[in-house]
């Protein structure tokens, strides 16, 4: 990928690869408008950058390498993959535990909304069910035909 390394003219240890050296050379020429004075000035700017880039604190490279070598091993892939699922399961279990019914006694008889007590319109008929009288609407006892009220007479 890259060319051989040499000593840079600016004091750096590593020569930039050939292709990239060409890139910087092109850049210097492109930004100098083919004027020798600007070309020389661009080279001076480049030299300052290269010199600054070549100066790193002593031991920095070794310290960073040591930190790379001593970094903790990455978690096995299984745990990395399973971590979200495990977290989700933990949330679900916590939700079940926190939302489960408390120890208070639950009433055995739940309100029956279909009962007649809750429907006043049917209250009379309902009472007939519980009063022991057969609600046989066809019988003469319970079905009273009032001709006056029925026909408006």
């Amino acid at each position: 990928m890259h060319g051989k390394t040499e000593k840079t003219p600016y004091g750096g240890k590593y020569m930039k690869p050939d292709k990239e050296q060409g890139e910087l050379e092109n850049f210097i020429k492109e930004t100098s408008d083919n004027e020798p004075q600007k070309t020389a000035a661009n080279r001076e700017v480049l030299a300052r950058f290269m010199k600054a880039g070549a100066e790193i604190p002593p031991g920095a490279m070794e310290r960073v390498r040591a930190s790379l070598e001593s970094r903790p091993a990455a978690a096995p892939w299984f745990y990395r993959k399973a971590a979200p699922a495990l977290a989700l399961c933990a949330v679900a279990v916590a939700a079940v535990i926190l939302t489960r019914p408390s120890g208070e006694p639950v009433p055995l008889v739940s309100p029956d909304w279909r009962s007649y007590e809750n429907f006043p319109y049917y209250a009379a008929e309902g009472r007939l069910y519980v009063s022991g009288v057969s609600p046989d609407w066809r019988s003469a006892d319970t079905l009273v035909i009032d001709a006056a009220s029925a026909y408006g007479l």
Binding site: M1, H2, T5, G11, G12, K13, Y14, K16, P17, E20, Q21, E23, L24, F27, E30, T31, Q37, K38, A40, A41, N42, E44, V45, L46, R48, F49, M50, K51, A52, G53, A54, E55, I56, P57, A60, M61, R63, V64, R65, S67, L68, R71, A74
Partner: protein, 166 residues
């Protein structure tokens, strides 16, 4: 190329890029370490078809620097003297310490005058040495836009550092 080879080839460039963006050597070292840790963790996922090693590593570095700058909120409040740490005096052969320090201070001042985007692009250009198309792909800018910004940036640096006017 194995990871050790990539580390040897790119560490200085990544460090220089981060140092240029952040301006603090300690932060640059920490961020460089973070960049290479992430690169190592994702090394198996690296796909050469999607870009070179330089694009990949500088993409990680750029994201880390941007995150660091946002988090620390120092982007708009970088004092000029913070750049003094970027370019320590070189006691080796060449110009004397005083002269080197003056050159470093001049570069630091010139960098501090650039907008954050310009500083990002010019340091990417010099240290990653990618072409404008690769930088455009990395930064999400247009290729011509990158070229224009870099051209203006070089004009500013030229004027500031060498006195050669546009």
């Amino acid at each position: 190329m194995d990871f050790a080879g990539i580390y040897e080839e790119f560490f200085r460039r990544i460090y220089a890029y981060i140092n240029c963006r952040v301006g603090l050597q300690a932060a640059a070292e920490d961020l460089s370490s973070l960049v290479f840790q992430k690169a190592l963790a994702r090394f198996a996922q690296y796909d050469p078809a999607r870009g070179s090693h330089a694009q990949w590593l500088f993409g990680i570095a750029r994201n880390e620097v941007n995150y660091h700058l946002r988090k620390a909120a120092i982007l708009k409040f970088i004092p000029l003297d913070l750049f003094g740490d970027i370019f320590p005096a070189d006691a080796a052969a060449g110009p004397g310490p005083a002269e080197t320090e003056a050159r470093s201070a001049a570069l630091a001042a010139a960098l501090a005058e650039l907008a954050p985007k310009e500083r990002d692009l010019i340091s990417l250009k010099f240290y990653s040495e990618m072409n404008n198309r690769e930088i455009a792909r990395l930064t999400g800018l247009g290729e011509s836009n990158v070229g224009t910004i870099l051209y203006r940036c070089m004009a500013k640096l030229r004027k500031r550092l060498t006195g050669v006017n546009i």
